[in-house]
């Protein structure tokens, strides 16, 4: 097991109760494990929530994180998504402001080229929605930042992930 840092994902089934999110994030923070993203939402079973936690972490610490989560009473199941085929996506909104006609056309062109959706606009602003992997979203932010420096506003939701059905998918 190595000490080099890798991007990892954990999918966590937890009790859907008040305080559980605070408990999990508190556990990770208390042990100084650095979490990149955490998303949470109710599942098909309303008593259960599912979290997707993204971390940049070395192997040894990652093993510890999984064990620590496992011993939490509110945690029902810990799934390590490092080695198995999964689908993962993140929602990202990018708002570009101060646009002239040419800028707007450029936003629409980028959206078309990369399969993004323009979901709102007015005279001087355009709002784009990207549903991609975290790293692809990083690329989108970089592209928009280069093209429209100091004129973008972004918000992103953190990755959600689920096991793939056909094992060839990633």
């Amino acid at each position: 097991m190595g000490m080099e840092m890798k991007k990892r994902y954990i999918s966590l089934y937890v009790e859907n109760r008040i305080g559980v999110l605070a408990k999990i994030s508190g556990l990770l923070a208390g042990k100084s494990y650095n979490m990149d993203t955490l998303t949470v939402g109710e599942t098909e079973d309303p008593t259960v929530s599912r979290m997707t936690i993204g971390l940049t972490i070395d192997d040894i610490t990652f093993e510890q994180v999984k064990k620590q989560l496992n011993r939490c009473v509110v945690v029902i199941k810990v799934m390590d998504f490092s080695e198995i085929p999964i689908h993962k996506k993140e929602l990202l909104f990018i708002k570009v402001s101060g646009c002239g006609e040419k800028d707007k056309a450029e936003v629409f062109r980028i959206a078309q080229a990369f399969g993004l959706e323009v979901i709102d606009y007015d005279k001087r602003r355009v709002l784009v929605q990207c549903v991609k992997t975290e790293s692809a979203n990083n690329d989108m932010i970089r592209l928009f930042n280069q093209t429209f420096p100091s004129r973008i506003e972004t918000v992103r939701g953190g990755s959600v992930a689920i096991e793939a059905i056909s094992t060839s998918e990633q």
Binding site: V14, E15, I18, G19, I60, E63, Q64, K67, Q68, N70, R71, C72, V73, V74, V75, I76
Partner: protein
């Protein structure tokens, strides 16, 4: 857990006790809001507990046990390192059997002390920063370290990179999260100590390791822990008096030098005879723990060993002990210092005593380094303090007075007695492994 409706109260209480007592046992907080305390409802508890996120491990992986046994068979210098887990799971008889069956020497953490009787010929003492020469050297030299129910915390490992450097490590623990946390081990076994030891007993042979065992025993003989170089009433003499005059008492300790001396000198026959706060190390633990121990074991003598600092941290419990008419023996080792911290200040901070002298007054000269006869009296007067609660108190300062003091305490059948022992103010706990040193590199004192 917070109880939100009266309906879920029985289930939550039942679950709380289940979690508290199974797996790696420990306290559970149940928060019962006032409205629920007052709401009326059924007093029926569910028959079974089923918590989907909590399934304590109730089996043991036989493949791992077999691997451990074959590693043990090949060992030339094997060693058992036993932590509190063995005491918690009540595996003392099995552990003794395992040691005798294999002939492998046993060392313990302070929480593991008593796992086998301390008088046993295979017992070599405590490991750790105030452990014995024999135990610490045995860890440094062993080739297979077979550890059960310990967390490898920094009090026992010393410099972690050098810990048991030449050894393969086997680790049994009921808590998977404790395995390979501080020390990466070669054979992990997640299991309750008792169950795992029972399985081991079916498999282990007698090992041919006489030379090694003799070597460790030799270290133990040559380097006993002692306070012989201090005069008068020493903690060693006080604790040895207890060893000689009480049969299977329950001993509780506070935290500090008083605790460390107790862990060094106390002799234990068996389980749950020694209660000490080893993990968190919370001062103020010893006296309340003694109250609990006495309530649970009314026919067993219960003795709390505390420091003059820690005794004051829950002194109000004297009212409880008096109310409940508990004949506790409360030994206060009064050195006039927060001794454990003072020892560090002496050894590692150039004797710059700061906030550790308990005879200090604001008008004292700065940089004073010792408390003297002329210093203001120590506050409080423990004898008067005991009397003010309608308990008993006696103060002694010579070893010859020990008998009188303990007899005095024993003469009280339904009230606690404080025995205030005036000891050498600047006595240190030795041996000691300074932080960051390897275990073998100890100040013998």
């Amino acid at each position: 857990m917070t109880v939100r409706t009266r309906e879920e109260l029985p289930r939550i209480l039942k679950e709380a006790f289940y979690i508290a007592r199974t797996g790696r046992p420990g306290p559970v907080v149940v928060d019962v809001p006032k409205v629920i305390q007052q709401a009326l409802g059924p007093d029926e508890y569910p028959k079974e507990v089923n918590i989907r996120g909590y399934k304590p491990n109730e089996s043991v992986h036989m493949g791992q046990i077999k691997k451990a046994v074959s590693m043990l068979k090949k060992a030339k210098r094997p060693l058992f390192l036993i932590g509190g887990g063995v005491n918690i799971s009540g595996a003392n008889a099995e552990m003794k059997e395992l040691a005798e069956r294999t002939g492998v020497p046993v060392i313990t953490t302070i929480m593991g002390k008593g796992a086998i009787p301390t008088s046993h010929e295979l017992y070599m003492g405590n490991i750790g920063i105030h452990g014995s020469y024999a135990a610490n050297h045995a860890v440094a030299e062993c080739d297979v370290l077979f550890s059960i129910g310990t967390r490898f915390n920094d009090r026992i490992t010393g410099k972690i990179e050098e810990f048991a450097k030449d050894a393969k490590i086997i680790h049994i623990d009921v808590d998977a999260a404790s395995i390979s946390k501080n020390i990466v081990v070669d054979i992990p076994i997640v299991a309750d100590a008792k169950l795992a030891i029972e399985k081991l007993l079916d498999e282990v042979p007698k090992l041919e390791i006489q030379a090694w065992t003799e070597q460790v025993r030799g270290w133990k003989k040559e380097h006993p822990i002692t306070m012989e170089n201090y005069e008068g009433l020493t903690p060693e003499k006080i604790i040895r008096y207890i060893n000689e005059h009480f049969e299977r008492p329950i001993i509780t300790t506070d935290v500090g030098q008083n605790q460390l001396w107790a862990t060094q000198y106390i002799e234990l026959e068996g389980n749950r005879q020694f209660l000490t706060s080893g993990g968190l190390g919370t001062m103020g633990y010893g006296f309340p723990a003694a109250i609990g121990a006495k309530l649970g074991n009314p026919d067993t003598p219960v003795i709390a060993i505390s420091g003059d600092g820690g005794m004051q941290m829950n002194i109000q419990e004297l009212a409880t002990a008096v109310t409940l008419e508990l004949p506790l023996i409360l030994v206060v080792l009064n050195n006039g210092y927060l001794g454990n911290v003072r020892q560090w200040q002496e050894l590692f901070y150039g004797k710059r005593y700061s906030s550790t002298c308990l005879r200090y007054r604001r008008s004292c000269e700065r940089r004073c380094q010792d408390s003297r006869e002329a210093c203001p009296p120590y506050t409080p007067d423990f004898v008067k303090l005991a009397e003010s609660y309608d308990a008993y108190g006696i103060r002694i300062s010579k070893p010859e007075e020990l008998k009188e003091a303990f007899d005095y305490a024993l003469s009280h059948k339904n009230a606690p007695t404080i025995i205030e022992c005036l000891i050498e103010p600047e006595a240190n706990v030795f041996p000691m492994v300074p932080t960051g040193n390897t275990l073998g590199d100890m100040i013998l004192g």
